[in-house]
Amino acid sequence: MSLMSVENVSFAYGAGRPVLEDITFDVPRGSNVGLVGESGSGKSTLLRLLLGLDTPRGGRILFDGQPLDARSGRYMRSYRRRVQAVFQDPYSSLNPAHRILRIVTEPLRSLKVPGDHRAMAEEAMAAVGLPVDSLGRFPEQFSGGQRQRIAIARAIVARPELVLADEAVSALDLSTRVRVVDLFRDISERMTMVFVSHDMGVVAALCDRIVVLDRGRIVEAGDTARILADPQHAYTRSLLSSIPRMPESA
């Protein structure tokens, strides 16, 4: 069964034009799903809906067979425990006033997860490849790639079933990006992931399924291998052909 199902979801801000229309797709348990689109595609808005930060105007989102009810505090507490996120900008996603220990254990405290929070944080830091003594330091002492690792540690510390990532490697330098993509690959073996990105290369490297969004609608969805080899929609084709490639070896 699907861990998450999005059914005919639509959304608009205020009385404005619809940002999302008739969005339907599944996130099978254990899979990595990529939501790909350019600016104005509505992909970030869709992610906010999946996180329960906004409520769809129409349609519904099912998580583990149950409708996502962003208005119920009790439901959201259990939902947050099972669904976590990583954001784009490693410089703005960590509170500069807090030590790393406090940042990484925030979900544990807020969700009242029982157990030794420090030990759990140490385990999460080890999982993202950072030394344990980082926990006593402040965000400003880390590089962009390290900060993103810390953000990932925070996302996995409560052992969620689903991690949603919003352009989580776009702000990183190329050499750092490859390593963080590898880290996501490692982590995704243990959980389901939804990866929102404009970068088809990153999504191709990480995801087994791809959903292509354009101006608030799904234009194409399917297995990564199939979409890369045989894109059906003109938009997908132009997206793929626009990506600059490295010159072939002589």
Binding site: S242, P244, M246, A250
Partner: protein
Amino acid sequence: MSDLLTVDGLTLATSNTRLVEDLSFSIAPGERFGLIGESGSGKSLTALAVTGLLPPAIRPSGSIRLGGTQVVGAPERALVRLRGDAVATVFQEPLTALDPLMPLGAQIAGPVRRRLKRSGDDASRGAVRREVMALLEQVRLPEPERLVGAYPHEVSGGQRQRVAIAMALACRPRLLIADEPTTALDVTTQAEIVQLINALVKELGLGLLFISHDLPVVGQVAERVMVMRQGRAVERGSTARVLTEPEDAYTHDLVDAARRFDSALEGRP
């Protein structure tokens, strides 16, 4: 043959750190040169140094000869003329590079009028307007009539970057510096801007200094490249050679990383 730009032993330093160290390269007229580097490599500072726009706290030493003029230590007055004449720059974010309160046509008209006046040509309203329209056409903007009256926020990111390129061309430079000109754009728009820059450089016989962290993009533009890391050049050579058979370990890492994503797109994760 005399080079358009010759940088020799350039070092950029503040009172306590060296940001760029002993950098040398040259660009011949009509040549497309790529500067590759990640954040902190000093590639954008190098571009600022070439146009004499370094912040006052950063002191250049060594030599930068641009169209026969020494930039290092030159008085601001000489630099102003140089910027209008020999070199023009296109930046990463067209939204901040354009004045939000001025119609696009008026922004391009500024440098056009200055150039016409300096060369003693007809700088009447009509002449300036004709030239502005010609520039808009040159950067392949649709509906130039409508665009001259539009404000930066009313057009798309790609169109803004085209206007920024038109402004750069307005002073008929011999060297165009493009500092991450495609980074802030969508992939489909990015491809169009790369094509446009390539076509214009060829048409006008410009020298191009193309700065980017994106290896495949540089690969589509430059004939020769230099790779920078932490203020130093680690590798240089023909683009084809550097991107296929890198010699330096760091360049090797970068090329491998770029190829990872490439092969993922070919369905070989």
